[in-house]
């Protein structure tokens, strides 16, 4: 009977494609929007992800994220270094600055000052040039996505001069970095140089980046640093999470994406529900005849379930493929740099599709189950 059910479904091409479209559309909308959402809020942690060598981030107790921080006095560095279990500790400066481009435009940038000696604080890889270039005076390294904001596509920025706080800066390399949430241009330079680029008061040390000694657990070390220095210390994972939470709490992004995902779900219910009900209504005579002939309700239920499963699996597959195609086709766009589909997302849309089909299938099925077999003689 399942075979007959499938043939009934595919035999009605308009409704079959309508159902597929509804499911595929919902899946696409939900999967794609959730994917963008997750990737976007993860950008809140990009500052942390870009420095994978730091096990612990130490900061003023009121600092919240890589971008929302209150600088500390430079003495904090030595206090952190004296805590047992600290293998190394380096200064890290993060501040906003304005840059005047060659065209004379003023642009906001983030300036990141990395440790002069070790260059810890730079992204792991360079897109062009070597990290050595920072040894030259006035040298800055720009992030790759930021490059596309300052310069035309395909332009090599190496050698370009910028004016940072009335100081001359020369771009000497391009870092392969995860873009920040705002995709703001980021300029990396040595800590000592950064102090000149960023106007400010006595306290300039945004963070102390700490490497744990072998065998020392980051969480334990962070607690110990806080206990001994009174500073806030977060492990890499905790601080990444702080950055993400900050975006979730302080922007309308979760609400906006939530609304779109909800719409995807509702549109799915509407299209699939209507088409399914129309399909069942068109076939109600046949279902009635089957019931009279001797097909019991359990078998009818199985028939409709098979129809739903067929539409669901194909439509869902198309929707996920569509998302993959979308992410893939935009992968060269700097805004979408590094976007991936977290494994939870397809599972969530699968659950949504299952709910849509169970709900609409159940509503459509009720009509069949309610049909009296005697109705076939009418």
């Amino acid at each position: 009977m399942v075979w007959i059910a499938i043939r009934m479904l595919t035999g009605d091409a308009t409704k079959f494609y309508g159902l597929l479209f509804g499911i595929a559309f919902s899946t696409l909308l939900i999967t794609q929007q959730l994917t963008i959402f997750v990737n976007l809020i993860e950008r809140g942690a990009s500052g942390v992800y870009n420095v994978p060598s730091a096990d612990v981030w130490v900061m003023d107790p009121v600092s919240r994220t890589t971008d929302v921080n209150l600088p500390m006095p430079s003495t904090a560095l030595d206090r952190v270094r004296s805590v047992p279990g600290v293998e190394w500790a380096v200064p890290h400066l993060r501040a906003a600055a304005s840059v005047r481009t060659k065209e004379g435009d003023l642009e906001g940038v983030s300036v990141i000052g990395v440790d002069d000696a070790t260059l810890i604080g730079l992204p792991r890889r360079m897109a062009s040039g070597s990290t050595k270039v920072l040894e030259q005076p006035d040298a800055v390294v720009i992030d790759d996505v930021g490059t596309t904001r300052f310069f035309p596509e395909g332009y090599d920025p190496v050698g370009e001069r910028l004016e940072l706080n009335d100081q001359r800066a020369v771009i000497m390399g391009v870092a392969d970095a995860i873009p920040s949430f705002t995709s703001q241009v980021t300029l990396y330079t040595r800590y000592s140089r950064a102090l000149n680029f960023v106007p400010g008061t006595r306290n300039r040390l945004s963070f102390v980046l700490v490497g744990a000694a072998p065998g020392v657990d980051a969480k334990t070390l962070a607690t110990r640093i806080t206990d001994e220095t009174g500073l806030r210390a977060r492990t890499r994972d905790e601080f990444a999470r702080d950055g993400i939470d900050f975006i979730i709490e302080n922007t309308g992004i979760p609400l906006n994406f939530g609304i779109t995902v909800m719409l995807g779900f509702i549109v799915g219910v509407a299209i699939v529900g209507l088409t399914f009900s129309l399909f069942i209504r068109d076939n109600i005579k046949q279902f009635g005849a089957l019931k009279a002939i001797g097909v019991n309700n359990a078998k009818i239920r199985r028939m409709v379930a098979a129809q739903a499963a067929m539409v669901g699996s194909i439509g869902y597959g198309l929707g996920v493929l569509g998302t993959v195609a979308f992410i893939w086709s935009f992968s060269s766009n700097p805004t979408f740099k590094g976007f991936y589909i977290p494994w939870q997302v397809p599972l969530i849309s699968l659950a949504a599709v299952t709910i849509i089909l169970t709900l609409t299938g159940w509503i459509a099925l009720r009509n069949v189950l309610r049909t009296e077999p005697a109705a076939v003689f009418r």
């Binding site: 007959i4 009605d12 019991n296 005697a374 076939v376």
Partner: protein, 244 residues
């Protein structure tokens, strides 16, 4: 109707027996009694006509007799089984094994071909699809439309569709075949041919065939004619009453 004998359990000649069958329909506040105590015995191997004016209760009666409509009161025995005492699923299964249906609008499934349509009762019984199809095709050949087995219902003429519907009613060799207005959609000649066919194929193995019809062109083919008037049987005989 008081002279009807009580049930004779075990009488193999009795296909259908109804006792005191009453059916009410409720429409809004009103309850209308459509059947007023029908007592009837239908023997196996007979072609029975049920005739009467529109609204007299023919469809209601035939539906109750074949197990698709519950009577408000009374008892129906099909081949000795008190069918309305069965559970829902048992009754569905009973129909699947014992009753063949021919509907006025055929109700073929548009998406599957003639052979598959004719094979539906076997498939529903769980018979292997290939075997079900083979048996259905054989029957279509016996009904002279063997060459149409691979066509979809929409590619068949009305008469051909009717034959597919007949094949579907016979393919699982049910002991009772019920038809509501099987010839209404056909011209006189086709209608007669269908009735001849039913006589020939259906009655061959001592089956019972009950046909609801208005079609006075084919009255001469019946073994027995029952006339229903306002929910009561007012005539029972081999021929139509003179004044009808």
């Amino acid at each position: 109707m008081s002279d009807v004998a009580p049930f004779a359990p075990g009488d193999p000649a009795t296909a259908i027996a109804t006792r005191g069958v009453v059916r009410d329909f409720t429409a809004g506040q009103q309850t209308i009694r459509v059947l007023h105590g029908i007592d009837l015995d239908v023997r196996a191997g007979e072609l029975t006509y049920l005739v009467g004016e529109s609204g007299s209760g023919k469809t209601t009666l035939i539906s109750i007799m074949c197990g698709i409509l519950w009577p408000t009161e009374g008892e129906v025995r099909l081949f000795g089984t008190d069918i309305y005492n069965l559970s829902d699923n048992e009754l569905v299964d009973f129909r699947l094994r014992n009753v063949g249906f021919i509907f006025q609008q055929y109700n073929l499934i548009p998406a599957i071909d003639a052979a598959a349509n004719a094979a539906v009762p076997l498939i529903a019984q769980g018979v292997d699809r290939g075997e079900a199809r083979a048996r259905a095709t054989e029957l279509l050949a016996a009904l002279n439309i063997g060459d149409q087995a691979d066509k979809l219902p929409s590619q068949l003429s009305g008469g051909q569709q009717q034959r597919v519907a007949i094949a579907r009613a016979l393919v699982h060799q049910p002991r009772l075949i019920v038809c509501d207005e099987p010839t209404a959609a056909l011209d006189a000649r086709s209608g007669r041919r269908v009735m001849d066919l039913l006589r020939e194929v259906a009655l061959a193995d001592d089956r019972s065939v009950i046909i609801v019809t208005h079609d006075n062109r084919i009255f001469d083919l019946a073994d027995r004619i029952l006339v229903l008037e306002d929910g009561r049987i007012t005539h029972d005989g081999r021929d139509m009453p003179k004044d009808y």
